[in-house]
Amino acid sequence: MGFLNDPILFIAEWLSALLSGWGLSDGLINVILTFLGVFVVANFGMLYVIFLVWLERKLAARIQDRLGPNRVGPYGLFQTVADILKLFTKEDTTPRGADKVVFNLAPILAVFSVLLIWAVIPFASTWVGTDLNVGVLYIVAVGSIGVVSTLIAGWSSNNKFALLGAFRTVAQLVSYEVPMVLSMLVPVLLARNMGLNAIVQAQDNWYSVFFWMAPIATLIFFISSIAEVGRTPFDLLEAESEIVAGFHIEYSGAKFAMIFAAEFLHAFTISVLTITLFFGGWQGWGDQFPIVGWVWFMIKSMLAYFLVVWVRSTLPRIRIDHMLNYNWKFLTPLALVVLIVTALLDRIVADNVDILTSQGQIIRSATLFAANVVIAWVTVALIRRRARQRPARVPVAQPRPVARPPEASTPASS
């Protein structure tokens, strides 16, 4: 029963008893167990990518009315393994004139910045890498390191396309950090705490899940996170028809595999973050058992990942100037408005109603949801009015001079 109750704790206690039986000091046991925990979480992330790549290919294929990989193994399950083997046995080139140290460092930094996020995510009520009290800010900080890795990947390739791609990528990533941070502040505000486990535990009923209190913030976070990862519809940065694969043109073989794995892991990480911040994380029926909490976590995050893949398979790519306009002229002001309105209303509700009771939570959710609906209505009305004032220009070709044979009566000379 002890094992079923909390497997990780059981294994940790058993291991520490074993190691102290071998005569190791307590501090050393602590260090060893921490390293083991880090090893397990990091490997879980990287191994899960193998499954995620297969899942994405199958899902995208089915949405596009085709089959997807189905040759290698049952239902094509080993396709990713075959791909990884292929990538690792490819020739590992470094372009001439490239800065070797920086060129090799960039993919490492890319994976590094994504794996660091996994240190603060709560998998269950007691399963969290390190429960930082500034967890949300830590996630923002680690995202910034990913931006640096993209930039140096593009620069060190000694390739103009790579450099241009890196500039555009960094412009997009840095721009979309702003609405992402602003919308991440909404659950922090509602939970009165920046730690991720505290945010999850503040959403303990189905009606106090932060999605009801801040649907617009959920959407903004989801959209800007998709832009942060660089997936369709924001994947201009690596579109083959536009910029020939962007900042990772010159990467082949194992280095490309690392960048590729980092991108997929990042896509899964943002779905995990969405459900942690807005949908209650590991909360669910029967979650006093950590195993059940972990199962709920996986179910919810796979649903969110399905949403990411669905969006990717359905929407077309947007142009870079449309992308930046969308961010600065729509998402950021909307995120600011939502933040201010949520802050004000939450304060008013908390002063008048005891929000610790379930009835208080329902009132709070209902009020904030109504406010979000009002904001959405006003926004759509404003956009509609503006669209009416500027009629969409239908592109009509200018009449162009048509080549005609010279008239027979016109003298050829003079």
Partner: protein
């Protein structure tokens, strides 16, 4: 030599080593990357000083914004891929002498101060972040410097755009 002291010595070696690479690297983009390493090491120093919030803000602001601005500026203002020629001007030895003199002077001046060898004070209270937030927005604390800093950032934002406007 307690483990914390060992960690501090390693971190300070990292800080000073990478800072020296920043000021002596001939390739300017390498110099910017060493700057990122220095900024990260300073964040580690903040963690040692139990100012975790400041450590994370250091990474977000310095590495996530300022270092990227530096790399962009370096990339936009060079004609060739590699930098050629020495990167120091003709008075570098005088600059080295001045820096050493300054360091010696600061160290000597600090050593004559009474509280120089002080040990760590009482432990940091748990609610530092809440106190920090309240100090930044409460009228009898530091709301005015906070607002002035916001206006300064706004002015810098507008000024940078205007100055770098491509006519």
């Amino acid at each position: 030599m307690t483990p914390v002291q060992v960690i501090f010595l390693l971190t300070s070696l990292l800080v000073l080593g990478t800072a020296l690479m920043v000021v002596t690297a001939p390739n300017l983009v390498r110099s910017a990357l060493w700057l990122i390493a220095t900024l990260f090491s300073v964040a580690v120093v903040f963690v040692l000083l139990e100012a975790s919030f400041l450590a994370v803000v250091q990474v977000v602001v310095y590495i996530g914004a300022i270092a990227i601005m530096f790399i962009f500026a370096v990339m936009l203002t060079r004609k060739v891929m590699q930098d050629t020629g020495p990167q120091t001007n003709s008075n570098w030895w005088l600059a080295a002498v001045f820096s050493l003199l300054l360091f010696a002077g600061l160290a000597w001046m600090l050593s004559t101060w009474g509280g120089f060898g002080a040990q760590a004070a009482a432990s940091v209270p748990e609610t530092t972040i809440v106190d920090l937030g309240q100090a930044l927005v409460s009228p009898d604390a530091y709301i005015l410097p906070f607002e002035v800093a916001s206006v300064l950032l706004l002015a810098a934002l507008i000024g940078a755009i205007v100055v770098a406007w491509d006519r």
